[in-house]
């Protein structure tokens, strides 16, 4: 069944093409259904390939197919090929699955938008690029997908580009990604230069069997790859774009910035684990240090955000930091496990937030929420499951995967473990804060700008529609009814909630038999997986400490926000809300001294580099004009030249012959 692997990216590509041609004619909602069907087809193909692979032995699970030679260029020969192995199929499965659910959600969310079909064009293109990223059999295909998702991210973030803030958010995302892409490209150059091929199988066989990379080269490659990953997966300092990217529609945030695109960096590093194994220790240490720092940094910022989506954005950055801690420590399985569970619960949280926003009529400030549990029961219920998962409460999936990551930190450095535990406690805290402010407590909505209270009796009972009911004075007042979302939107929530609850079963740590994910990913890791040497009792102790930490986080949040014992403003410091002013300082630098540097570089390029090139041309011209004077047209000068030439040749021969 593995030869169906080429179908997986073809479905969304087909969807993209069809929607490009006929999308406007199909209109709402058929365009959306077409897109959803295509992605579902992709999911089913991935399932087929997965089943076919699962039926084989562990060694036979790698399948490569090359469709055609894409770039035949001298020594560099890049083919358009797919690599179906456990890692890529795992990624493909959850990418297509979550994407299909989000497509369905988006049909409901984007209802009434004038650019309905354009949205799905971009979404399908995005899914295609992401699948090329994970299924490619060489670095260049991965890079193609890498750039593709970056471009689609730009399109989708600035989807409502009439507002300049959205457009510039999209630009920021794209530019920051590009800074990271430089690292990826340099890594590709280094790999090609040292190994001569960009294909994964060639690279791995060279590195493992022939030891083709020196430690210095491998270290350089790892650092460059990490720069690329940091750009895509929003690690410090390239995380700036992710909070701003919330300007896009919520399905975009869910799909791109929670479940799929931001995990590309983790995927890339996991895929290149043989190279990471060859590199010097400090480069992998760099990875987990930055991951740890990002996790803490973003968690502190999330504590003080008032926009529900920004909390989730910083939460994503923080959770990605967790994943990088695992990668840097060598526990790739933990990173992938956390990636999968994060995809489920973060998508769930985002979609739930979208549902809340939709129900609250595009209001995103949490200070205007409160007591929405009764108004939106399904949303609330699924959201609570996502909340418990991310906080690390057993038996939900987040607990198991986060525990693995904490184990990775413990294995690396005890101080790191403490810091990461603090980050986990803060995660629990801010997520509980979000849930309490949104669904519990007292309702803070129902006030319009004049500050008058609306009629409250009709609100709690009326579940379906908003009404515009004139009050007895004759003024028109809109009664504010947060309502539950339509089935098209809550069905994906339920599905994702189920997944978030049960995904822990993938890799339960109790015994080797239950560690399905670890066994499944074994052929991809080439034995580079670090196994933690800690006794079972230590692991149990760490798990218990993690549970206690989660409980502390939840309880302290309830202390502040439910029971109102502590004033929130003491915790929600303005500097935290501004994310330690890092973004602002970057902007100031770029606008001020940065601008001068860029102006100087432009001057340099224009004068020196262009001058050199033009100068070469002018030099040739000048020489030509001077030399032209030798063409006198006078026969006798030519004859003279010939005689002198003959004399010169004779002299040369005489000097060579000797006596």
């Amino acid at each position: 069944m593995e030869n169906l692997v080429w179908l997986i990216p073809t479905f969304p590509l087909l969807g993209f093409a069809l929607l490009l041609l006929f999308g406007r004619r199909l209109g709402e909602p058929n365009a959306g259904w077409l897109a959803t069907t295509m992605v579902t087809g992709s999911f089913l193909s991935s399932l087929c390939v997965f089943l076919g692979m699962a039926g084989k032995n562990s060694e036979n699970r790698v399948y490569e197919i090359t469709l055609f030679e894409w770039i035949p260029s001298g020594e560099l020969s890049v083919g358009l090929g797919f690599l179906a192995d456990p890692l890529s199929i795992t990624m493909a499965l959850f990418i297509t699955g979550v994407s299909a659910l989000i497509h369905m959600y988006a049909i409901g969310y984007m209802h009434g938008d004038p650019n309905f079909s354009k949205f799905f064009i971009y979404l399908n293109l995005f899914v295609f690029s992401m699948l090329m990223l994970v299924l490619g059999d060489n670095l260049l295909i991965t890079f193609l997908g890498w750039e593709g998702v970056g471009a689609c991210s730009y399109f989708l973030i600035s989807f409502w580009h009439q507002d300049p803030a959205n457009a510039s958010a999209g630009k920021k995302a794209f530019v920051t990604n590009r800074v990271g892409d430089w690292g990826f490209m340099v890594a590709m150059f280094l790999l090609f230069f040292n190994i001569g091929s960009l294909k994964y199988s060639d690279i791995f066989s060279s590195v493992i069997q022939v030891d083709a990379l020196t430690q210095t080269t491998a270290t350089a490659i790892v650092v460059m790859l990490f720069i690329g990953a940091a750009g895509k997966s929003a690690q410090f300092p390239l995380y700036l774009w992710l909070p701003d990217a919330m300007a896009g529609p919520t399905p975009v945030s869910a799909l791109i910035h929670a479940a799929t695109m931001v995990t590309s960096g983790v995927y890339l590093l996991t895929r290149m684990n043989p190279v990471l194994a060859e590199a010097a220790g400090w480069s992998t240490n760099l990875i987990w240090v930055i991951g740890l720092f990002t996790a803490l940094f973003a968690a502190t910022a999330a504590v003080a955000q008032n926009d529900i989506k920004k909390v989730l954005a910083y939460s994503t950055v923080s959770q990605l930091g967790f994943m990088f801690v695992a990668v840097g420590s060598g526990l790739y399985v933990a990173a992938i496990f956390h990636m999968i569970t994060h995809a489920f619960f973060k998508a769930l949280l985002f979609l739930g937030a979208g549902s809340v926003i939709h129900g609250m009529h595009e209001e995103q400030d949490m200070r205007k929420y409160g007591a929405l549990k009764k108004a939106m029961p399904i949303t609330a219920g699924t959201f609570i499951i996502g909340w418990l998962a991310i906080s690390g409460v057993p038996p939900f999936s987040g607990f198991w995967s986060k525990d693995e990551v904490l184990l990775a930190a413990w294995n690396e450095n005890k101080v790191a473990w403490v810091l990461l535990l603090i980050a986990a406690i803060m995660t629990a805290f801010y997520m509980s804060r979000l849930v309490f402010m949104t669904f519990f407590g007292e309702k803070r909505w129902g006030e319009d700008e004049t500050g008058n209270h609306e009629h409250e009796e009709s609100e709690t009972e009326n579940q379906e529609q908003e009404e515009i009911s004139p009050n007895p004075e004759g003024e028109e007042r809109r009664t504010f009814n947060p309502h539950e979302s339509p089935v098209l939107m809550w069905f994906p929530l339920v599905a994702l909630a189920g997944l978030a609850a049960t995904a822990g079963l993938l890799n339960l740590p109790f015994s080797h038999d239950t560690k399905f994910l670890e066994k499944w990913l074994e052929p991809v890791l080439f034995g580079n997986e670090v196994h933690v040497l800690a006794s079972t009792s230590t692991k149990w102790l760490l798990a218990v400490i993690a549970i206690i930490g989660a409980t502390i986080g939840v309880l302290s949040a309830s202390y502040v926000y439910l029971k109102n014992r502590v004033n929130p403003t003491q915790i929600e410091l303005p500097i935290l809300q501004d994310a330690w002013k890092f973004d602002r300082s970057v902007s100031n630098f770029m606008g001020g001294p940065g601008r001068k540097i860029f102006d100087w570089i432009t001057w340099f390029d224009r004068t020196v580099i262009d001058g050199a090139v033009n100068g070469a041309g002018k030099l040739t011209q000048g020489i030509g004009i001077r030399l032209k004077t030798t063409q006198t047209g006078l026969i006798r000068t030519y004859a003279l030249g010939m005689v002198i030439g003959a004399v010169a040749i004779l002299t040369y021969f005489v000097s060579r012959m000797g006596f």
Partner: protein, 105 residues
Amino acid sequence: MTFAMAIGTEYYLALSALLFTIGAGGLLVRRNPLIMFMCIELMLNAANLAFVSFGKEMSDLGGQMSVLFVLVVAAAEVVIGLAIVVAVMRRRPKASIDEVSVLRG
């Protein structure tokens, strides 16, 4: 009275070189096209002399054969060359070789 000196090939070659040089010098210095032609003939004759002297030394008839062909080609060259000179001189009777310099950059 006979000189017992044997005239070896080097004498002929020296003479040939001398004639050739005089011809080359004349080619460079004279401006009358016909005289330049005659200098060319001089150079060809010098070459012929060299050919024959080498042929004598190596006992090879090839030297003389070469001279025959050089002769024929020289004759043909003179024919065409003089035709060109006539064609040019008809239009500008007082021309020197330096005035035919239209082909220049």
